[in-house]
Amino acid sequence: MATQQTQTAARLMMSPAVLLLLAWMLIPLSMTLYFSFQRYNLLMPGMEYFTGLDNYRYFFANPNFWAALTNTLVLVGGVLAITLIGGTLLALLLDQPIFGQGIVRLLVIAPFFVMPTVSALVWKNMMMHPVNGLFSFIARVFGVQPLDWFGQVPMLSIILIVSWQWLPFATLIILTALQSLDEEQKEAAGMDGAGPLSLFFYIILPHLARAITVVMLIQTIFLLSIFAEIFVTTAGGPGVATTNLTFLIYIQSLLQFDVGLASAGGIVAVILANIVALFLLRIVGRNLDA
C-alpha cells in the first residue's frame, strides 16, 4: 500500500520535468521534420506546398553543404586532437607536486568560464590582429613575417580559439580521473622496473581511457554546434572557409528565410549528433548500473 502510494507520488513529481522535456523535444522536432518536406520560404508567405525530398536533394547537391561538412569535421577533429593530447599532458603535469598548485589550477581552468563571444573577439583583435595583435608583435621580435591569421588561416584561427576554451575542460576531467588512480599500483609497477613511458602506456593511459572517451564525446556534441565563435569573427568566411553545418543552416534559415531547406539541414545535423550521442549514452548508462 505504502509503496504504491509512494510510486504514485513519485510519478507525479517526475511528470512536470518529463512532460516539458517531451514537449520541448517533440513539438519543434516534428515541425522541423514537417517543414523539411515543404517548399517554404518566409519571404513568400502562403506559397507553401509539399515537395517530398526536394529540400534534401537541394541540400546535398549544394556544394556549400559538402564544404560545411568538411569544415565541421576539421573543426571538431582539430579541437579534439589539441584538447585531448594537450589536456592529458597538462593533467599529468598538474598531478605532480607543484608550488602553488591550487593557483595554477585556477589559471588553467579560467578560459572555460569566458563567454564564447568574448573569447572570440579578444583573440581575433588583441591576439591575432595582423598589425596590432600580440602575435604579430612576437613574430616581429623574432624577425618573422607576422601572419594574417583570419585572412590566411581562418579555420586554424578558429580551431585555436575553441581549443583554448575547451582545453581546461579536458584537463580538469582527465586530472580528476588521474587522481583516482591507485598510487600503490604505480609504485608496484615502478618496483617491477617499469620506466615512465611504459608506466604511462600500460598503467596510466588504460586507467584514463574512460575519462578521455567521455571528454571526447561530450566535446564532440558541443563542438558540432559551434556558432558564436564563427558568428563574431568570420561570419563563415572568407567564402565558406569557416562555415560549419550549424552556421550554414543559420544562414539558410535566418538570413535567406528558406525554412524548408534549413529544416532539411537541421534534420541532417540531428542525425549526425545522434550517432555521437548513442555512444555517449551507452557509456553513461553502463556507469548507472555500477
Binding site: M25, G100, L121, V122, I173, L245, G266
Partner: protein, 276 residues
C-alpha cells in the same frame, strides 16, 4: 641526495606548470589590463604591459554610450530566472528518481540526457517561428523558457547524483518515527540536499550566462544579454579595443569567480556522473 633531486624536480615542474598556467590565463589578464588603457595605448606597438596611464574612462563610456547595465541585468534576469525555474521543476523529479526508483528510472534519465544532445540548429526554425507568433522574440520570458529547457537535463542529472548520496537509512528512520512525506522533505531531506542544490545552481547560472546560440538568435535589443552585447563589437573595424576590453572584463568577472568556486561540481555536472 634523493631529497635534493626531488626538490629540484619540484622546482622545475613548478616552473613549467606556472609558465603554462600563465600563458593560458594571459588573454584574460591582457583583456583586464587593456580595459584601463586609452584606445591609443591599447593598440600601441610595441604593446604596453604595465607602464601606461591607467584610466577608468572606458568603463564610463561603455555604460553611457551603450547602456551596459541594461545588458548586464538582462543576463542576470535570464540566467538566474531560468536556473530557479529549472530547480523548481527538477528537484521533485530528481528526488523521485533517487528515492523511489523504478525499473524505468534509468531509461528516463538517459532519455533526458539525450534531449540535451539535440543540436540547437535542428530546432532553430520552429522555435523561431513559434516565438515570433507568440511575440516571445527579444523578451526575458522567451529567453528564460529556452534556457530552462536546454539546461533542465543537466539540472536533473546533477541533483540526481547528489540525492543518490544521501543515505536512505535516515529517511527510513524518520518514517519509522512517524514523519509524513512532507515532514520528511522539509526536516530531513532539505538540510542534507542544500549543498548539492547550491552547486547545481552555481553551475547552471554559469552555463546560462555563457549560452551563445539562442541568446544571439532570439534577442535583438530589449532582452539582449551580455553575450549579444559583446557580439555587437564584432562589426566595426577600428579603435575600440579598450572599450571591448572593459565590457568583456565586466561580462566575465562575476562568472569567473563563481566558476573558480565550483570547479569540482563542474566535473560532475558536465560528465553526468561518468567521471567522479
Amino acid at each position: 641526495m634523493a631529497r635534493t633531486i626531488s626538490t629540484r624536480r619540484k622546482v622545475i615542474v613548478s616552473a613549467i606548470a606556472w609558465l603554462i598556467g600563465l600563458t593560458l590565463f594571459f588573454p584574460i589578464l591582457w583583456t583586464f589590463l587593456t580595459s584601463f588603457k586609452t584606445e591609443g595605448t591599447a593598440i600601441a606597438m610595441p604593446p604596453r604591459f604595465l607602464f601606461f596611464d591607467w584610466t577608468l574612462e572606458n568603463y564610463q563610456t561603455v555604460q553611457t554610450r551603450s547602456n551596459y547595465f541594461r545588458h548586464f541585468s538582462n543576463s542576470v534576469i535570464t540566467a538566474v530566472g531560468s536556473t530557479i525555474i529549472g530547480l523548481i521543476i527538477a528537484i521533485p523529479a530528481a528526488w523521485a528518481m533517487a528515492f523511489s526508483p523504478t525499473k524505468r528510472t534509468k531509461d528516463v534519465l538517459l532519455w533526458m540526457l539525450s534531449t540535451k544532445m539535440l543540436p540547437a540548429v535542428g530546432v532553430l526554425v520552429p522555435i523561431y517561428l513559434i516565438f515570433r507568433d507568440l511575440r516571445l522574440l527579444d523578451t526575458h520570458i522567451g529567453l528564460i523558457i529556452v534556457l530552462t529547457m536546454i539546461n533542465l537535463p543537466i539540472i536533473v542529472w546533477m541533483l540526481y547524483t547528489y540525492f543518490k548520496e544521501i543515505p536512505v537509512d535516515i529517511l527510513e528512520a524518520s518514517r519509522m518515527d512517524g514523519a509524513s512525506l512532507r515532514q520528511e522533505i522539509i526536516y530531513v531531506l532539505t538540510p542534507m540536499a542544500i549543498p548539492g542544490i547550491a552547486s547545481t545552481m552555481l553551475l547552471n547560472i554559469i552555463l546560462a550566462w555563457n549560452e551563445a546560440f539562442w541568446t544571439l538568435n532570439l534577442t535583438t535589443t530589449r532582452a539582449a544579454p551580455l553575450t549579444a552585447f559583446i557580439a555587437s563589437y564584432s562589426s566595426p573595424e577600428g579603435l575600440f579595443w579598450a572599450k571591448l576590453s572593459a565590457a568583456s572584463t565586466l561580462a566575465i568577472a562575476p562568472i569567473l569567480i563563481m566558476g573558480w568556486f565550483s570547479q569540482k561540481q563542474l566535473v560532475r555536472g558536465l560528465t553526468f556522473g561518468a567521471v567522479k
